[in-house]
C-alpha cells in the first residue's frame, strides 16, 4: 500500500479483516475511514528515507487501536521505572554510560558535529544520514554508527580515532535495532548483519571474530563443554575479572578471553 485512496467504504474494503468486523468498528478509538485518510496523507508526506506504512502495518495499527491495551497506561510510571533502573546501574556498579564512553558526538549529513550529553539521547535523536561516534573510555576504541533510515545501521570500529591514526577493525552493514544496555554500553541487535573484520594491514579477512564481544554465560558453557566443573568455570571467570579489573566481563572480547586463557 504505497498510497491508500482517501475515504469511502469501497476503498476501505481492501482492509478485509477490518471491514468484516462490526465489533472493531464499534470499539475502535479512532474512526477507520479517517484513519485510512491519515495513512494516505502520512505516506504522501514521508520524511527523507522513510518507508511508507504498508497496508499490513496500517491494519495492525488499527487493530491495536481497537483493543487499545495502552489506554490506561501511565507514562510517568514507565519513565520512573526506567530512571530507577538507570540510576542504580550508574551508582551501584560504576558502569554507567559516562564511564563507558569518553566522547559521544552526532555528525549530520552536512558534516556539522554536535556533542551529545547522553548515549540514549543521541541514539533517540539519530536521523537518517546522521553518524554517531563513540570513544570507548576503557580500550580507546572508536566506533562510528550511521543510521540508514530504514531501521538499520552501518558501523565501523577503529582502534582509535581514525583522524589520529586509528586502524579499521571491523564494519557491519544492515545491523538492526540499537539500544543502550543497563551497563551503558551500546548494543546492536544484528542477527542479519554482514560483518567484515580487517587485519593490521587494513585488508578484509574472514578472521576469527576476535573482536566480537562474548559474555560470561557463553564462556562458562564453553569451559564446561571442555570438561571444567561449574565451580572451576566460575573460578576462572572470577580470575579473569580480577586480572582485567572489569566489574563485568560482559564487555570483554573473544580476544581478551583468549589472551587470558593462553596466559594460564
Amino acid at each position: 500500500m504505497s498510497t491508500v485512496q482517501a475515504s469511502g467504504d469501497t476503498q476501505f474494503s481492501q482492509y478485509s479483516t477490518l471491514s468484516k468486523s462490526d465489533d472493531h468498528r464499534q470499539n475502535a478509538v479512532v474512526d477507520q475511514n479517517e484513519f485510512i485518510n491519515f495513512v494516505d496523507d502520512y505516506n504522501q508526506n514521508l520524511k527523507n528515507g522513510e518507508a511508507p506504512l504498508s497496508e499490513q502495518d496500517a491494519l495492525l495499527i488499527f487493530e491495536h487501536s481497537t483493543q487499545n491495551p495502552t489506554q490506561g497506561m501511565n507514562q510517568s510510571d514507565f519513565a520512573s521505572a526506567v530512571e530507577a533502573i538507570k540510576s542504580e546501574t550508574h551508582q551501584g556498579q560504576g558502569t554507567g554510560e559516562n564511564d563507558v564512553y569518553s566522547g559521544i558526538t552526532i555528525t549530520d549529513a552536512n558534516g556539522k558535529a554536535t556533542p551529545a550529553k547522553s548515549l540514549q539521547g543521541a541514539l533517540s535523536g539519530l536521523k537518517p544520514g546522521d553518524t554517531l561516534t563513540l570513544s570507548n573510555k576503557a580500550n580507546g576504541e572508536y566506533m562510528e554508527i550511521t543510521s540508514t533510515g530504514n531501521g538499520g545501521f552501518n558501523t565501523a570500529s577503529y582502534t582509535a580515532d581514525p583522524n589520529e591514526g586509528g586502524r579499521l577493525i571491523s564494519t557491519q552493514k544492515g545491523a538492526g535495532h540499537a539500544y543502550v544496555g543497563d551497563s551503558g554500553q551500546l548494543y546492536l541487535e544484528n542477527d542479519h548483519a554482514q560483518i567484515t573484520l580487517y587485519d593490521e594491514a587494513g585488508k578484509p579477512t574472514d578472521g576469527t571474530l576476535g573482536d566480537l564481544r562474548i559474555d560470561e554465560d557463553t564462556i562458562r558453557n564453553i569451559l564446561i563443554d571442555q570438561g571444567k566443573s561449574s565451580t572451576q568455570a566460575d573460578s576462572l571467570i572470577a580470575q579473569f575479572n580480577q586480572s582485567t579489573g572489569n566489574t563485568t566481563s560482559d564487555q570483554a572480547t573473544r580476544q581478551d578471553w583468549m589472551f587470558f586463557f593462553d596466559s594460564l
Partner: protein, 120 residues
C-alpha cells in the same frame, strides 16, 4: 545482568520483531524508553527460563530481582506494568511482545489524533 541475548531471543513472534525493527526509529524517546524497559523485563524472564510460563506479579518481582534489579526498581517496573495489565492476573512473555507493538502502534494513533485536531 546478561545483555548479550540476541534479538531473536527477545521475540517469540518474528513478525513483532520485524515490526519493531521497521518502526522503532520513528517513535518518540518516551516510547523507545518504554520498549527498553520491556526488553529488560523479557531479558530477565529469559534468564530465568520462564518464557513459556504465565507469571503473576509476585513471580515477576522475584525474576526481576534475581536478574539484578533492586527491590525499588522491580517495584517501580511492576507499578508501570500494573497500569496496563491486571496486577492480580498473570503476564506472559508474548503479552510483553504485544505491548511493545501496541506502544509503537499508539505512536501512529497519536499522530493521527494530532493531525485530526489540527484539521479541526
Amino acid at each position: 545482568m546478561n545483555q548479550q541475548l540476541s534479538n531473536q531471543e527477545l521475540y517469540s513472534d518474528l513478525s513483532i520483531q520485524d515490526f519493531t525493527n521497521r518502526h522503532l526509529d520513528r517513535v518518540s524517546s518516551d516510547v523507545k524508553s518504554n520498549i527498553s524497559l520491556l526488553h529488560i523485563i523479557r531479558h530477565s524472564i529469559l534468564a530465568a527460563k520462564k518464557q513459556h510460563e504465565a507469571l503473576d506479579f509476585i513471580a515477576l518481582d522475584e525474576i526481576l530481582q534475581s536478574y539484578g534489579l533492586s527491590e525499588k526498581s522491580s517495584q517501580k517496573t511492576l507499578m508501570a506494568l500494573g497500569t496496563v495489565f491486571d496486577d492480580l492476573g498473570s503476564i506472559t512473555f508474548y503479552d510483553l511482545e504485544l505491548l511493545e507493538q501496541s506502544f509503537i502502534s499508539q505512536h501512529y494513533v497519536d499522530a493521527f489524533r494530532n493531525s485530526r485536531d489540527i484539521n479541526e
